[in-house]
Amino acid sequence: MKAQLAAPLAAAAALLALPFGLSDFWVFISIEVLAFALYAVSFNLLLGYGGMLSFGHAAFLGVGGYTAGLVVKQSGLPPALTLVCLPVAAMLVSAAAALVIGFFSVRRAGIYFAMLTFAFQMLLYAVALKATALTGGDDGLTGLKPPGFLAQPRAYYYFALALTAASLYVLHHIVSSPFGYTLRALRANALRVQYLGIDVRAHRLAAFVVSGAFAGLAGAIFALVNGNVFPGWLDWTASATPIVMAVLGGTASFLGPAVGAAVYVVLEVLISGRTEYWPLAMGIIIVILVLLMPEGLTGLWKSAAVRFGARAAPLPSQEAR
């Protein structure tokens, strides 16, 4: 029992102490990591647990980001109230968007589901580009700052940490619930689940809405640390980001995508600081990932643990999908 608690406690202590050892720049990057960790884990609720390849998940990051931007810029609420409204509004609006998109998309599976979600993301991209009065068009919403005392980077870090930790706790609760196990069963064999009398479409839609809501929250957290939201968030190249993060970390474990997000964000900072050819580097990383390490970093870690004789859990089978 003690050994089981040691690792999470150490991780929590490290995350709480982190901002004191870092410059302002890296505090900002840490906040970005938190936002994208939440984004990737929410995405993996669909891919890793439900076996649903959403190719339009950036839609919800974008909807959450734009909602946060509008709340900060337009609502005129006092800072304390904004603080509360911000996450709630981002989650509600992106959940609503997910309900509409999901309603049409979850009827299809496999590559057709991917294309439907992608089509809706592109539709929202076009809207973000053209609804200038609301979204600022091409320029997006700029000059966003966290409200009140949160403008201090370290204060905003703890705010983001609290939101991310609470969200991951809820998401973990969801995947360990009977609902979570039904999702896994859906990934393994949807037809059989249907024969058991379970409403497949309703379960998929529920997962889609939950996933979209938390992706929206991630978008809100990221929007305020980034300082702006623009249509590029919803562009087609953004569709690959959550997939790369989830696969890089490993879709077979709950926190794998969070690890993948952290590695991805830090790599992007390090590489794009040295060369303008970050896309080239990312392309090469993707090819290596797909061809040589499809189980991701957590998969590598587990197989290394098995090889070197540690008492690790057996490698989760990828065959089910």
Binding site: F120, M122, Y125, K130, V247, I286, Q318
Partner: protein, 319 residues
């Protein structure tokens, strides 16, 4: 009470009709109609060259190739380099077309045998990621090889200038594009429906295992189809080179339009790609007139509607 409701409804109707009249005033002008129709068809033909390959590849290999727009861009860039080697513009133009198609056929074959072949059994997300990785690599490779500036290819003298008929002035090169696209579509039809390999390709879109069990070399077939699809995109790029700004970033809009086309036409159906290419070409040409600021929204709305009502596309086979 009743008459005021009637009045209000007729007021709303008047307003709607007024709006329609505003947005569609161009529809009464036959010259504009003819010009936009020709522009839509010629753009549709270019779209067809990309989307035909994209659709074929999905039909046979079951891979949605996001790098197809990059293939188009490489075709255009190779055309720029090849055309520069010739003093005679006509010879340069012909060589550029051949170079664009042949170069991409080789590149396609290399990509299929070295990369794609390893992931046919992998889950969808791995296949999507791999072609996405190729998009990023090829996008930056284009900048490294050809630089960041935009290039252009001169068109041969016999294709410059305009045609005049019934008061409509239309660039000759666009008429040439329509003719070239129609010829290629016909050639593709003959290849698919009148040759042995065409039968293999169509059979592979229906049942790959059965085809393989019948003794057809499906490994070679996959390579050939991918190379053919890439060559069509390369040829499309070379044909488009004289009328577009050839530079990095060309692939971005192209792949999205092609993607919309294959989804609407039905993944795997070349005929569907043809019909949908013309449709999207025309929707773009007239959408710009009716809703100048929202033409992009129209194409995506078309795609979403088709996907919702008929997910397999207009002419696609069932999932």
């Amino acid at each position: 009470m009743g008459s005021s409701t009637v009045k209000r409804v007729s007021g709303i109707l008047d307003r709607v009709l007024e709006l329609i009249a505003q947005h569609f005033a161009w529809a009464q002008n036959p010259v504009v109609l003819a010009r936009q129709t020709l522009a839509g068809i010629s753009n549709g033909m270019l779209l067809f060259l990309i989307s035909a390959g994209l659709s074929l590849i999905f039909g046979v290999l079951r891979i949605l190739n996001f790098a197809h727009g990059a293939f188009f861009m490489f075709g255009a860039l190779i055309a720029v380099s090849v055309a520069a080697l010739f003093a005679n513009p006509l010879a340069g133009f012909a060589a550029a077309l051949i170079g664009g198609a042949a170069g991409l056929a080789l590149l396609g074959a290399a990509i299929e045998t070295n990369l794609l072949r390893r992931i046919y059994r992998a889950p969808h997300e791995m296949q999507l990621l791999l072609t996405f990785g190729l998009v990023f690599i090829m996008g930056d490779a284009a900048k490294l090889i050809w630089g960041r500036e935009e290039h252009s290819v001169g068109m041969p003298a016999i294709l410059t200038g305009s045609a005049h008929a019934f008061g409509v002035v239309f660039p000759l090169y666009r008429l040439f594009l329509i003719a070239a696209g129609a010829t290629l579509a016909a050639g593709l039809w003959v290849a698919l429906y009148r040759t042995r390999w065409g039968i293999f390709i169509r059979a592979a879109t229906m049942d790959r295992e059965m085809l393989s069990a019948l003794g057809v070399n499906t490994r070679l077939l996959f390579t050939a189809v991918f190379a053919l699809g890439a060559a069509l995109a390369g040829l499309g790029g070379a044909l488009a080179a004289p009328i577009v700004a050839v530079g990095p970033g060309l692939h971005v809009q192209v792949i999205i339009d092609a993607f919309v086309v294959v989804v609407i036409g039905g993944l795997g159906s070349v005929l569907g790609a043809f019909v949908a290419s013309l449709l999207i070409g025309l929707v773009n040409a007239f959408g710009v007139l009716a809703f100048p600021s929202a033409a992009v929204v129209l194409t995506f709305a078309c795609m979403a509607i088709v996907l919702i009502i008929r997910p397999r596309g207009l002419l696609g086979t069932a999932e």
